[in-house]
Amino acid sequence: MELLMHITADRIIAFVERVATSIKAERDYLTQLDAAIGDADHGLNLDRGFSVVLTKLPTVADKDIGTILKAVGTTLVSTVGGASGPLYGTAFLRAGMVIGDRQTIGAINLIGAFEAALEGIQSRGKSGRGEKTMIDAIAPGIEAFKAAHFRGIDLLEALEEGLVACEAGMQATIPMLATKGRASYLGERSIGHQDPGATSAYLMAKALVETVRM
């Protein structure tokens, strides 16, 4: 077996489809998490968005990766609403802009895309780490992926290391006091609950790893 070095556009399509499936499957779980510290709509919001994304994918199926990701971003912005819509929408848009008209990407491109996505979320959300948001799953995930890649290991393995860190980051939101988003209105009462956005971010990372692994 050849070492996996590249991800093609049709893998990206498969990744987005897998995210949509995973979000649908975990819709009620995400919404439940949001009921505890938010307004009980996170799963509904993302599922609504990714359902429309699925209907849009055929129109970009033969396009470059940047175009695909930007289409996902625009669709999310236009359909999700709430906080997660602009945040994930911006993330996919920025990733798409960084990747541009490539048909295949490698680890370096991925790192660039991830970092642009994270930077988009942070500037749109005026937020950083430790505020009990999706950032707390995404940022450690990217760091671990980057570190693994620079240790010279295979793309899939590096992604898997990133996923482990992402999951740990998600779990680390449980004891946190929320200072951004709706959960922050609860003050102390936000402590003890896992952040819904961190959870959906983890589900997306998991979908990426699973797509690459196939």
Partner: protein
């Protein structure tokens, strides 16, 4: 879940269709992206006033579209902020060349979606200003939160700014007026029961028989404190104290007092609460110059209420008294 609905996914669209049928003289509902627009928009020479937010707060905001208040409202899904496409469509529909003011309740999602819409509108050459309402004193320390939430004051602000826009004020003047109203008003709410989002099917939180939530928002989220159910007089005191301290309101102040129901609380209880509020303010030498009592900014079927106090001067009072003709508020025509 017991509601007068068909499929949970269709609640917002069907209710809006009902509104459009009922109030065709005042509003029209544009589909895809969904926007409620004043029937005669755009109004020549008038700054457009738009607002929006998640649904489930009816009559806010759609019920406030019409003469002397909003030019358009953007309804999101239940408790979910609308998407930028809606605000952009609203902005285009109401812009008459003098610019558009966005009134946004301070929630991360609303702020970000309106912000993206404003960027898109600006790119089209439409002048857009934004005012964010954040009147909820339940959110105490805004350095550790996304900031205070926009709640009941939003209704009063939309009426007052809408009246000034109708009278021909320009965008800068309206923006300053809106900021002033926001600075002069405070709110605090409580829940006797949770509410049920149709797509979720059960109440957002459990509230046992003997307990209430103090410091709730308007999205079925739990409040800041859970306390024992108390007589109306005590509940009123718990709501009014943080409001008065915060601004602070002073002896001799004249206020607009707004007793708002959360959707499932009948008017008889709201009038009873108004009496308590009146007593508490009178004891502090604060004079209620105008009042509004009813279910205007709601959380679906939640039982509970909120108090909003807005300090009035003659100018604000005149704007409050000015004619308004919308589905939910109408007087003076």
């Amino acid at each position: 879940m017991k509601k007068l609905i068909n499929a949970p996914d269709d609640v917002v669209a069907e209710a809006l269709a009902g509104m459009a049928l009922a109030h065709a003289d005042l509003i029209r509902v544009q589909p895809d992206p969904l926007v409620i627009v004043r029937a005669d928009a755009p109004i020549a020479n008038k700054v457009g006033i738009i607002s929006g937010g998640g649904s489930g707060h009816e009559p806010m905001h759609g019920g406030f579209v019409g003469r002397g208040m909003l030019d358009a409202a953007c309804p999101g899904h239940i408790f979910t902020s609308p998407v930028p496409d809606q605000m952009l469509a609203a902005t285009r529909a109401v812009d008459a060349g003098r610019g558009v003011l966005q009134i946004v309740k301070n929630y991360t999602g609303d702020v970000m979606n309106f912000e993206m819409a404003a960027e898109l509108a600006a790119a089209e050459g439409i002048e857009v200003a934004t005012v964010i309402t954040n009147d909820d004193v339940a959110v105490e320390n805004s350095t550790w939160t996304a900031g205070r939430r926009g709640v009941g004051l939003t209704v009063l602000l939309e009426k007052i700014v809408g009246a000034a826009a109708e009278a021909g004020a320009d965008l800068a003047t309206l923006t300053a007026l809106a900021q002033r109203v926001n600075a002069e008003g405070r709110s605090m709410g409580m829940a006797l029961t949770s509410c049920t989002v149709p797509n979720v099917g059960r109440p957002g939180f459990d509230l046992p028989e003997g307990e209430i939530e103090l410091g709730i928002g308007i999205h079925g989220e739990p409040g800041r404190y859970r306390v024992a159910l108390a007589p109306a007089a005590e509940i009123a005191a718990m709501l009014v104290a943080p409001i008065l301290e915060d601004l602070p309101f002073q002896r001799g102040d004249q206020v607009l007092a707004f007793v708002n129901g959360m959707g499932g609380t009948p008017l008889i209880e709201l009038y009873l609460m108004y009496r308590e509020l009146h007593k508490l303010l009178a004891a502090r030498g604060i004079h209620i110059r105008r009042q509004l009592i009813g279910n205007y900014i709601t959380s679906l079927d939640m039982a509970g209420c909120s108090f909003t106090l807005l300090r009035l001067d003659d100018h604000l009072t005149q704007l409050w008294d000015a004619p308004v003709l919308t589905p939910a508020l109408r007087w003076g025509h």
